[in-house]
Symmetry: D2
Subunit: 409 residues, 4 copies
């Protein structure tokens, strides 16, 4: 993060290139944690725990430094980032003192947040007006134009060498047939603005038939969807274990308790259905077939941003002996998601710079429901990720960094 | 398993070759389950759940069929295998009805069990007499000779195409300096008899300086030690998960509750120390450094052959957020170990047949403390195992099967 | 249990009185376990683990001996009790060998099972015909008459000194307005036959407005409803603990995994709703107010008759510190319920004999949703139960046992 | 807490009486939390969660108001209370902002802390000098005199209507025969100063033969020992549940993970032994006999002041069916202990005022190893506690409050 990250440079392009991270849902817990954490790690206040791209295997990949990232985004709520960060500190998600320490960076990012459009709550009746316009209602295409213009403006004003759009908004319900859900409008806007796109949520995003052609022709890298942060992360290592040991999983049941906005959003059965589909896909892919068992997602406001996931796995051993594995995962979703969001932003920015476009199947490590046909086991996904890291380095594929200024042109 | 597996053939060698599995601790739970289970699966009474060598990746490896295995072994206790199997069925380890269904095979194996020598209890004062001999006490070398003769006699009488020795006896305390512990006497006997050797326990076995030269020159394959069946199996997939996600494990604590003979043996602090060393090694290898935390092994006779392992992992996420994963594994150790013992016996028999000798580092998948320098993560170990499976096939390295009858010549 | 429990005595009344236990759902897991277990304990094959009425506090209560109980009942399924018992033994619910050991008693009880009437599945459309009658459909009153006649016939043929009716059938969905659900027809039949009545399930039974007057005038003891066997048993001791320590429970969440018929029945949301109401009542009563949190009941056929219940309790301590208690209960519902069914049968038979009638609030110890206004904490309920035990003794209230032969006259 | 709780009044006795709480281990986590929490609750900053004496049943008991309590104590460490409180807030034990809000009260208490004497580490070689005196070593009696003088001085300077001494120091190892351990020196000093005494730890305190006579004649109330705050609290409600339901507990195993000073102190096997004895006593008392199973206490510094206790209970149900209950308790020991310390201080101060002396068996609710012969089940202990609360009221036993100013005269 540069010394004055929020000031719009008045002179020509600075010596060191800077990069944009445009967050859809920019005032949510994950976005706030990502912005605050990026600043804190860049300043040396905290080690980069949880950031895979800061491990030695990525040192030669030419990733944008954390200090070079500039944040902006869309959101439909008003609470300023510094205030949101204070709330998170009170809930134990951010360390006490951190919001004050990175106040400037939070404020800078907050100034770059533009109002989002059709709200999630309205999505079932199709997009609605952003303001109390008295003119005719905007069409999907109108919205995409507005959003793309916001992104382009951000990129231009900051002379960014590239911008990536990352969806970290609350999960939206499965869309009605026909209308594009909000997440897809933002995804289309990313393409229209020539930016790479990451869908960290189970929402539709680019996974919409109406956007298939667009995505294929956009010439930008994209990845998703649904970040693998807790229960599914575990499942992606435990499923392979059972399969490799030829143990027969008979039933895999799970319950998630979570408060915060995510708990409330997922208490909506339609939203939960989208999320659970991803969880079950991991099991079916690693075990060969989906076992018995359900997954519950409960909204428990008392837990705040903390999440507890209990899994109960009934499996058969030799001669039909009945055995059981149970796991209890207690974590903070924002703290699990934010470093991965930073990882993905850097990887896509660099991919765009290196001319790598289209669906990035090599990033299956990060997702419940990855694009492409990669392996489902975390270990194999990690191997693919490291291979991708090597592919990003200049040695792997020399490019003219100055002449190819990245994703948004 | 042939129709009369235990009868000494009176005619010349049969058409299909048969192979010997010589179990040290042949009347224990693991051995009994392996013998009964091999017969049950060979007869189609149960699917081969838990046997990795019965999965498609091993179909072309030329492994000895289950029906071709002939069992014998050493033990210091007298309880006949059919009776032991009945006990295990009462405790829910074997399915009811199974001991009766495979009575002939249990009886056949029981007839091939020879009295073991120096008992575990006496080991701290050095080997003692097998019988109440009035003659001079036997030396280590005498014991090795006696055991090797037992193994050779078994192999010859059954016209076996090869024999592998597998240690599945109760864990012995860490040996006093000087004297060879019993497990090492059996291991040396395996070498002397020209047989492959597997140490499925944390006992010393071939890991003794006095045996190093012998092992190097024996021209047989060997593997070990300490089968990875429960808590450590989990650790070998969870450790890499934390490392790959750059999460900082701060403390990893565990408690094992188990009854049966194993519980009592491991209640001995010296035996537990041997076992725990293996568990901690897996963590140190996968995490980069050993975290805080202890491992307890409690003898709880009420649990019989069932084992419960609780693990509590405190780890840090982004910005130092404190998170916790807990796992509870409830399994039957014999049912977890027996199919792996069959796997290992088949793999070593085949390796011997193919002229593969020395330490088999590629079998790290099975062990807490593998020989050689292989990876510590289960996923990578599985990849190595599959590579080994391919290497065993005739296509990989054609041999004259008839002329090279394997490990014991 | 007498030597020939099922033979209809041809001579006059035997020296020792015998008592009837009429089970609604007589071929279910709970009923089968109760019948087999009563015989096994009476014969000294097993200690009376789980039977509170066999503890010293009940020794002077004059309860009918286990050997004096004669079983019969209604059911809509055909599987004979001995065969059902074999199934339970295969699933590990009954000890192997027990079905054979008590075969005579199972057969005797099976001969006394009469076809039930309107099946649970049909209940939403109101009662249907028992057989493919071509005559006019039976009214509720017709059904009650038929059932009551079955009970009276059983009581008379066996010269029983009293009979109690216990509902252990699968949970039925919440009834539609108007029609009496099947459980209420059986309950009404118990009253009409002059028998005590216990509702061990969450079904309606006597809790129906149409039966209130009848119950008040019947002059028989009754108790219920919904046996407290696992998760709710725990809640009834943990809830008071939090309340007594002035700790603030913020959220109490739970998931139940169970197979068997119960799992399938409770997968029906309507049936689950009935059950969950009872669980939540216990919390609200012991904590003062119902905390946040949901309860899930999942049908997991792989678990058979075994049940796992996970509870997660988030509570606040001093100065708002956040703490968590989790419990995992792994039990066999039939084995938990059956001894309580025997307890209740004996207590109600004795109560009837002593002239104690109406709702037995003192039996709240056994139920999630007890009749009357007793305490909700298990400890206080136990104190009440012991007081009731004292009240049942002849010393407490002398009666002419010969002249007052109990509930059914 | 009065406006200026620490200033020594220069005028005559104030209108409202004030009371002293003298904490042995006054700079530890529990003491700091008690002092800070008392101030916070008295000021209305937090509700009195966890304080039983603030529930309605105690409203008429005449307990000293929280605002009337004045704190002082002994400790061998130097870290000032305000700084200690900051550490606790960083570790999440105290709410952020609280140390600042109650800084005056923390400072006031800190000024009343006198140096403790023989440190725990030296206890095995008998008491040592407090300072580097060049004179002769102090005898036990010298130490008791010094400590008693400290307490009397505190009481007199503040014109307190009574003072109670509460031991909340780290657990000391089981004492060597002969020498009085430090905890007993402080206990004796309490008696010599005419103060009530509470031992909230498993240390010896008044449980020493050499103090029996003294305790009997001191004419002060005393209670202990070993506060029941987590695992044992649970055991005191679960044990009775199993017993009341006639379920046969076969094995009860437990592991405690805790950091902080307590973890380190209890990693000492001798200290752990003292603590475990209390835990096992609760089981033996509630179950009738001690079941199989061990209890481990692990020092896990990464957990700080937070504690995790896992319990695994194997029990038999009807017909020998095997069932398991597991509990996981995650709490903050200081936050659990501190409100109970305040409860006990108030109860003993009031008892002394009402002339109630000797061992207070009615306070078994609070302890693992209570004085006297009370019940072991928490429910019954709670009933006794409420009875004691009633006994404390003036109606129960009118006294001349002005004339009988309590424990220390």
């Amino acid at each position: 993060m540069s010394a004055e990250p929020s000031s719009v440079p008045t002179t020509s392009s600075p010596a060191a290139p800077r990069y944009g991270v445009w967050l859809v849902g920019a005032r949510g817990s994950v976005a706030t944690t990502a912005v605050a954490g990026c600043a804190a790690v860049a300043a040396g206040l905290h080690p980069p725990t949880g950031m895979v791209t800061e491990t030695p295997d990525f040192a030669a990949s030419g990733l944008p430094p954390l200090a070079s990232l500039v944040f902006g985004g869309h959101d439909t709520v008003d609470c300023p980032l510094p205030k949101r960060a204070e709330h998170l500190a009170e809930g134990g998600v951010l360390p006490h003192g951190l919001p004050a320490a990175v106040h400037a960076e939070l404020l800078a990012a907050d100034r770059e947040i533009r109002p989002g459009g059709p709200t999630l709550r309205d999505s079932d009746t199709g997009p609605t007006l952003r303001d109390s316009d008295t003119g005719p209602a905007r069409t999907d295409d109108d919205w995409i134009d507005v959003f793309a213009a916001d992104i382009r403006d951000f990129t231009d004003r900051h002379h960014l060498a590239g911008t990536v759009v990352v969806n970290v908004a609350s999960t939206e319900p499965a869309p009605a047939a026909g209308a594009l859900p909000p997440s897809s409008l933002y995804a289309a806007a990313a393409l229209r603005a020539g930016c790479g796109y990451v869908n960290f949520t189970p929402s539709t995003g680019l996974h919409h038939p109406a956007l298939a052609q667009l995505a294929a022709e956009a010439g930008v890298p994209y990845a998703g969807r649904d970040g693998k942060t807790g229960q599914t992360l575990l499942r992606s290592v435990l499923g392979p274990m059972f399969q490799q040991r030829a143990l027969a999983v008979r039933a895999w049941s799970g319950t998630n308790l979570l408060g915060g906005g995510d708990g409330a959003a997922l208490a909506d059965p339609a939203a939960a259905a989208a999320k659970n589909a991803g969880k079950e896909r991991v099991l079916a892919d690693t075990l060969g077939a989906a076992p018995e068992g359900e997954v519950h997602i409960d909204d428990v406001p008392a837990l705040g941003d903390w999440k507890t996931a209990w899994d109960h796995i009934a499996f058969d051993g030799f001669l039909g002996s009945r055995m059981i594995l149970q796991t209890i995962w207690q974590g903070c979703d924002s703290a699990l998601a934010a470093p991965l969001v930073l990882d993905l932003a850097r990887l896509l920015l660099r991919a765009g710079q290196q001319g790598i476009t289209g669906p990035l199947g090599e990033l299956g490590f990060y997702f419940k429901d990855p694009v492409g046909d990669g392996p489902a086991s975390l270990g194999e996904q990690y191997t693919e990720l490291k291979r991708f890291a090597a592919r990003l380095s200049d040695t792997a594929r020399p490019t003219d960094e100055a002449g190819d200024s990245g994703a948004h042109r």
